[in-house]
Structures are given as C-alpha cells and as structure tokens.
Amino acid sequence: MIRSLSSIVFFLALLLAWEFVARSGHYSPVILPSPLNVLEYIWQATCDGTLWVATLVTMKRLLLGYGLGLLFGIPLGLVTARFRLLQDTLGLLALGVQTLPSVCWVPLALLWFGQTEAAMLFVVVMGTLWSVIIATNDGVRAMPPIYLRAARTMGSKGLHTWVKVILPASLPYLVGGMKQGWAFAWRSLMAAEIFVTILTGFGLGQLLQYGRELLAMDQVVAVMAIIVVIGLLADRLLFSPWERFFHKRWGTGSVK
C-alpha cells in the first residue's frame, strides 16, 4: 500500500514538474508540449481509432516475431547447452550476433526483403532469437549436475530427463531470457517500424516517425509514453507472476 502510494506520488510530481516547465513559456510547444497537450492527443487519437489500429498492428507483428524467436530460440538454447559441438559453433555465433544492436539488422532486411512485412518480421526475429538462445543455454548450464545424477538413479533418461529435469531446472533462467527477449523484440520492432515505411499496416513506430515529420511533438511524446506503458504492462502481466512463483518455490529473491 505504502509502496504503490510512493509510486503514485513520484509520477504525479514528475508530471507536475513537467507541466510547470511547459507553462513557464521558456520553450515553444513544438519543442516541449505540456502533459495536457499530450493527454489531449491521446484522447483524440483514441476516439478516432488511430491509436487502437496502430497498437493492434504493432502487437500483431511483435507477437508473431517474438513467438517465432521463442519457438526456435528455446530448443536451440537447450541443445547448445548439452552438446559441446553445438556450444562451440552455434553458441559462439549466438553470443557474437547477440551483441549486434537490433537496428543494425534493418539495412540488411530492407535490401533482402524490401519495404515489406517480411523485413519487419525478420528484424524482430533476429532481435529476439539470439538472446533467447543465450539465456536458455546459460540456464541449462547453471543447473547443478547432481540433479541429473539423482534423476538417473531414479530411472529417468532421454526425453524424460529433458522434460522433467533439465527444462524445469532452468525455468527461472528461461523466464529471465523470455523477458529479455521480449524487451529486445520490442526495441527491434520499433527500430524496424521507424525505418520501414509500408502500406500494409501503420504501427506505433510509424506513428512516432509521422509525428516527427508533422512537427507534432504532442504526438511524438504520446506515442513514446504508450510504448513505455505497453512494455511495463507486458512485464507485469506476462512475466511478474512467473517470477513470483519461482521466487516462492525456489526460495530465491529477497524483494517481494
């Protein structure tokens, strides 16, 4: 209760300070719109449907790309952790490519796929896949080997060991990796939407870029705020419940 109160007070103070600076008249509204201008834009864009459509388009791309990234990343991470040859080849590749900021994939995607949805998807998958591979790989390798020995004495082998021991043992890492993958997917999609202008769908990134072209700072700030809120909501709804469960079961983490 006190904690949510402190959050509320903090954000209200932030908004008030912003409003105060905006009203002081030092900066033109084109450079610094007031929070009220931004809210006004959000209200109007929600009513005429612009925001809904853009959010929907963006989420569709995000979920598809993120889903593909997980679908390939988790199994690949599992096998790179358990087979030395794959660790030294694919694992090394993932480690290297993972350091590449996802926006760096955009030029390549544009040349390969042109201004298409495929280019967009490619960038998101590339942004997600490698970090998920790394996180899964690290999770499996952090597992105490005694679990495997104990499981073997009880008659577990092959697929049973994978599904009932290795996978659950590395789940906390896996969720950490999925969370990181989500953040990476989100970043890379915004980069892709800003650079790839296409007619098949007008997403949040494009709305942001469009705001810049129109010198509509209220729109720019509003879209940025919405991107932040979606990221925060995803964290709270998709990942926090899992993390809480693991902390309870494993007895890890001191912050409740």
């Binding site: 679990y147 020995r149 104990a150 004495t153 009880m154 008659g155 049973h160 659950p168 494993w250």
Partner: protein, 270 residues
C-alpha cells in the same frame, strides 16, 4: 501391483565387487582412486566405508550405483553385472539433491512415477507411507527451501526408499548436518534399516558414525585407494553414538587410520 506389495519388504540384495580399478587424470597427475578392490556385501548387511578424502570410497559407491564405470573389474548385484543405474540400487547424496521445482510430495513421487505397475493413486499412497516413515507427513506440500537441513535429508531418504530398492547407497548423507540432527538420523536410519530390510552401503569420513551404524566397517587408504583394514562391529542395536562400548570400536579404527594418515600428513575426523 497393489500398495501392499509396493511397500512390502523385498529380499535385500547381495553385492559383489570384483577387482575394481578406477583412476582419474587431473592436471596434477593421475590419481588411482580404486586399486583392484574386491568386497563381498552380504544380503541385508549394513556396511560402512570410511577413510580420508580422496580414498575412492565415493567413487566405489558411484560405480555400484551405475553412475560411473570402472576401468577394470566388475560389480555384481545379485549375480548380475551392473551396467547402469537401476531402481534396485537407490542413492542418497551428501547434498540432498532434491528438485526445487517440486514440493516434498512431488520429489518423492519423481522416482515412483517412473516405476511401472502402479497407478497414480497408489503411487501417492506409497509416497505418503515413506514420508510418514521419516516423520514428515505434515510437510507434503512444503517447498524444499522451507525445510531445515535435516528435514531435507529425510525427504531425500524417503525419495530413495520410495521405489523400494533392495540396496541403499548413502554417500556421506549426514556430513552437512549439525550434531543433534545427525544423532536423530542415526536412530532413524537404524530403525528404518531394521524395518525395511535393505542392504546398505554407507560412505563416511566419520569413524564414530561408521562404528555406530555398520555391521562391518571397511577402512580405505588413499592413492592408490585400497581396503586397509576391516572391522566387525558386534554391538546390539539400536546403537547410541555416545555409548562407551562404541568408543572402543572407534578408537580401534582411528588407531588403524592414524597408522597411514600420519605417514601422509592427513587429517581425519573422529
């Protein structure tokens, strides 16, 4: 299979270790963990293996468990060659090795779920029976991290007993516990051994613990790992770790142990 047959006493197993040799190569050279070791373990015997660290006693246990393979020699369990882990030989490790993603009942059920011939309801009954035997029937759904060290080892014991193995291999299972908890568990393990008729091989570096639990104590000397001496402990059960009679045995074993530890400058717990 009914619950009754799943938890009835089955014949304990006879184990023969025949000329087992095993060496490890480290960056400091080759260590001969076991050098042509042969032991016969009788059915239902409680055999303790003592010796300083690095004398190969844990390696021998792992080989009997089927988790490790010898360089030469062989292990026979009830006349059959051991080629891998089997449900007839369950292991209890020094670290409890319980799975943190399962609760207490889930951990005991893990091995039972892999055992054919039982339905899930029966498996649950069996798991509860063993958790009751180790005094944890009130903690079925506790998370592992919520238990004390002693309780964790009790769960590990229940998990090892649940598939009804004929042999129990215990690798310093009480080494990480405090003295009071350990004493309780000495009582428990003797009670369970008498009630469940298992062949038990118990590895420890604690001489007194070995004398308290074993029918027979094998003293190992390290590098190369060999059986240095053998002692019969004929005290009646249940034995108390603090009894004076026990001290005679542990003094005798310690004296033999000092014979070679002094030479090699090694220390050992009494």
């Amino acid at each position: 299979m009914s619950i009754e047959t799943a938890i009835t006493n089955i014949a304990p197993e006879r184990i023969e270790i025949d000329g087992v040799t095993k060496s490890f190569t480290t960056n400091r050279g080759t260590i001969v963990a076991l050098d042509n070791v042969s032991v016969k373990v009788a059915e239902g015997e409680f055999l303790c293996l003592v010796g300083p660290s690095g004398c190969g006693k844990s390696t021998l246990l792992n080989i009997i468990a089927g988790l490790d393979t010898p360089d030469s020699g062989r292990v026979l369990a009830n006349g059959e060659s051991v080629t891998g882990p089997g449900r007839d030989r369950m292991v209890m490790f020094q670290e409890h090795a319980l799975f943190p993603w399962l609760d207490v009942l889930g951990n005991v059920m893990f091995g039972l779920r892999l055992k054919p011939g039982l339905n899930n309801k029966e498996r649950k009954e069996v798991a509860k029976y063993y958790l009751d035997l180790v005094g944890l029937s009130k903690f079925l759904h506790a998370n592992i991290h919520e238990l004390s060290g002693g309780m964790k080892q009790r769960v590990a014991l229940a998990r090892a007993l649940a598939p009804n193995p004929r042999v129990l291999l215990m690798d310093e299972p009480f080494a990480a516990l405090d003295a009071l908890t350990r004493e309780q568990l000495y009582g428990d393990i003797q009670r369970i051994w008498e009630a469940r008729r298992k062949t038990i091989l118990f590895v420890t570096h604690n001489v007194r613990e070995a004398a308290c639990l074993g029918d027979r104590v094998l003293l190992f000397s390290p590098n190369p790992g060999r059986i240095h001496a053998e002692f019969q402990v004929t005290l009646p059960r249940a034995r108390d770790i603090n009894s004076v009679e026990l001290a005679h045995y542990s003094t005798e074993i310690t004296a033999a142990l000092k014979g070679f530890t002094n030479k090699q400058g090694m220390e050992v717990a009494e």
